[in-house]
């Protein structure tokens, strides 16, 4: 499954899956985060892994990367 990851200079990280279902993507992201923790990279999630939505309802995901 393809994912796009953005790492800013101030240490913010954003992971967005690009295909598949939300459930599958959530599981893959959680697996990635768990493996990174084993490797010594600890990431504090600002929220639970969530389903992507557009900003029409005013909810913004900071650092989010659109591929379209």
């Amino acid at each position: 499954m393809k994912a796009k990851i953005v790492i800013t200079l101030d240490g913010q990280i954003s992971i967005v899956t690009q295909e598949g279902s939300f459930e599958e993507g959530k599981a893959r992201i959680e697996s990635l985060l768990a493996k990174l923790e084993v490797q010594g990279i600890n990431i504090n999630l600002t929220n639970e892994v969530e389903q992507h939505r557009h900003d029409e309802d005013g909810n913004t995901v900071s650092g989010h990367v659109h591929s379209h």
Binding site: K2, K4, I5, I7, G11, S14, Q18, I29, H54
Partner: protein
């Protein structure tokens, strides 16, 4: 237009950039600083290595010691930056000292931040994930495509 992002996670890496500055070691840090200062403050002359001796010549000050013009610079791998004149301040030196101190501090933070980005990517690869593309955005953010 449909969006291809399905699941989204946002977070902050816990590690501090100072941890990465410390990993540079004094020799690499000295080289980085010399290159940086030579480019930024070429008007002050050559950047030279110096042994910085503490008051009353009782001890050598740890960290990188550099001299440019009449300005002494001490930077340690904990990220502490000390800049001063050799007791012979001229008109404008105070401003120059402050400018050098601020620029070195900013540069250290940027170098540490870049090292942290590179470490995260290395650890993603080491964890067995394939990174297919890597780009750096205008704001310094790194964007990678990964098979997760």
């Amino acid at each position: 237009m449909p969006c291809s992002g399905i699941a989204v996670a946002n977070g902050v890496v816990k590690s501090d950039v100072k941890e990465y500055i410390e990993k540079f070691g004094e020799e690499a840090l000295a080289q980085l600083l010399k290159t940086y200062l030579s480019g930024q403050f070429s008007d002050l002359g050559e950047v030279r290595d110096v042994d910085l001796i503490g008051r009353h010549r009782r001890f050598q000050i740890p960290g990188v010691g550099l001299e440019i013009g009449n300005i002494l610079i001490n930077v340690n791998t904990k990220g502490r930056v000390t800049v001063n004149t050799k007791g012979q301040a001229s008109y404008g030196d105070r401003q120059k000292v402050r400018e050098i101190q601020e620029k070195i501090t900013d540069a250290l933070n940027t170098w540490g931040a870049v090292a942290r980005q590179q470490d995260i990517i290395s650890q993603i690869k080491a964890a067995g994930f394939e990174v297919t593309t890597q780009q750096t955005a205008h704001n310094g953010a790194i964007v990678i495509d990964v098979e997760v």
